[in-house]
Symmetry: C2
Subunit: 158 residues, 2 copies
DNA sequence: TATTGTTATACTCTATAACTATA
DNA sequence: TATAGTTATAGAGTATAACAATA
C-alpha cells in the first residue's frame, strides 16, 4: 500500500498520485515492458525486425523444422497472427516453409541463409542489450528479475 | 546462459529449445505479461473495461482535474490514443471533460458518479487479484518483483 | 513561435469465427 | 470427427505527421 508519486520529467512540478497501482503486478509488468522496450530496442535493427519477429526467427534457428502451431504456442502468438507474421518473413526472404509428406496439413519452418545470417548478426546485440545494465539493474537484480519472470511465464499451474 | 526447454502442455512430448532467450529481460517481460494478463484479467469485468481503461479511470479518480496530456505521459499512452480511449470513456458515461478558463487549449478530467462507482467496485477485485498468489508467487517474491519492476519503470536514467 | 489536443493514416497485434484440406 | 493452418473482420494499441486553437 505504498502511496507512490510520479514527478514530471520536465520542469513542471505537477505530481501525479498513483495510489496502490504500483503494487499491482499486472500494471507494473505493462509499465516496465514499455520502458524496457523503449530503452532496449530503440536502435535494434528497428527498420528490419520487430522484437516479436526476431524471437520468431530465433526460435526457428534453434529448432529448425519446428511446426508452425508449436512455434505459435511457445511464443504465445495467436495462430492467425503467426500466419501473417511468417508471410512477411517469407516475403523478406528469411524463412522457408515446407509441407511434410507424413502430415500434409502441417507446415515445417526453416531459416534461409539470409535469415540465419540476420539472426547471427543480431544475436550479440540482443544478448548484450538484455543484461540489465541498460535498465539500471545490477547483475544480481537482473538474475533475480529473470527468475521471477520465468516462474510466472513457464510455471505449470495447478 | 541457461539452455531452457519448454515442454508442451498437452500429451505431445515435443520439446522446444529457447536457447538464451529466457535470459533476455525484454523477451521475458513480454512472456510474463501475456501469462499474467491471461490469469489476472480473464474475469475482470472484461465486458466493461480493458486493463488500460481501468488504470486510466483509476488515476483520474485519485487525481481529479488532471490534465489529459499529463495523464497520457504518466501512463505512457500516446496522446493520439488517449484521445480515442477517453472518447470511449466519455461515451460510456464514466468521464467528464472540462476546459479551464485559464488555459483553453487544455482539458481537465473528472470521473462522473457512474465512473466513481465503477472504480470503487473494481478496486478490491483489482488489488486482490494482483497480490501474486494468482501467479504462483510467494509474498516475498511478489514484493521483490514489484520493487524491480518499479525500478525499471520509474527510475530516472542518467 | 511553442504548446495542447485532435484528426488521419498505416501498421502491429489480439480475438473470434468461418473456412480448407487433410487426418 | 478432429486437427493444422488460412482467411476475414473488428478492435486495441503504436507511430507519425499534419492540423486547429490557444498561449
Amino acid at each position: 500500500m505504498t502511496e507512490t508519486t510520479v514527478k514530471d520529467h520536465d520542469e513542471e512540478q505537477d505530481e501525479v498520485q498513483l495510489g496502490s497501482l504500483p503494487d499491482s503486478i499486472g500494471f507494473m509488468l505493462r509499465m516496465a515492458q514499455i520502458t524496457a522496450f523503449q530503452r532496449l530496442f530503440e536502435s535494434f535493427e528497428s527498420d528490419t525486425l520487430k522484437p516479436g519477429e526476431f524471437s520468431t526467427l530465433w526460435v526457428i534457428s534453434i529448432n529448425p523444422g519446428i511446426k508452425q502451431g508449436l512455434l505459435a504456442k511457445t511464443l504465445q502468438i495467436k495462430p492467425a497472427h503467426m500466419t501473417k507474421l511468417l508471410h512477411r518473413m517469407v516475403q523478406a526472404g528469411y524463412v522457408r516453409r515446407e509441407v511434410p509428406a507424413d502430415d500434409r496439413r502441417s507446415v515445417l519452418l526453416f531459416l534461409t541463409p539470409d535469415g540465419r545470417e540476420l539472426v547471427d548478426r543480431q544475436r550479440e546485440i540482443f544478448v548484450d542489450r538484455n543484461d540489465g545494465q541498460g535498465l539500471g539493474l545490477t547483475k544480481a537484480e537482473t538474475a533475480q528479475l529473470l527468475r521471477l519472470l520465468q516462474k510466472i511465464a513457464f510455471q505449470r499451474m495447478p
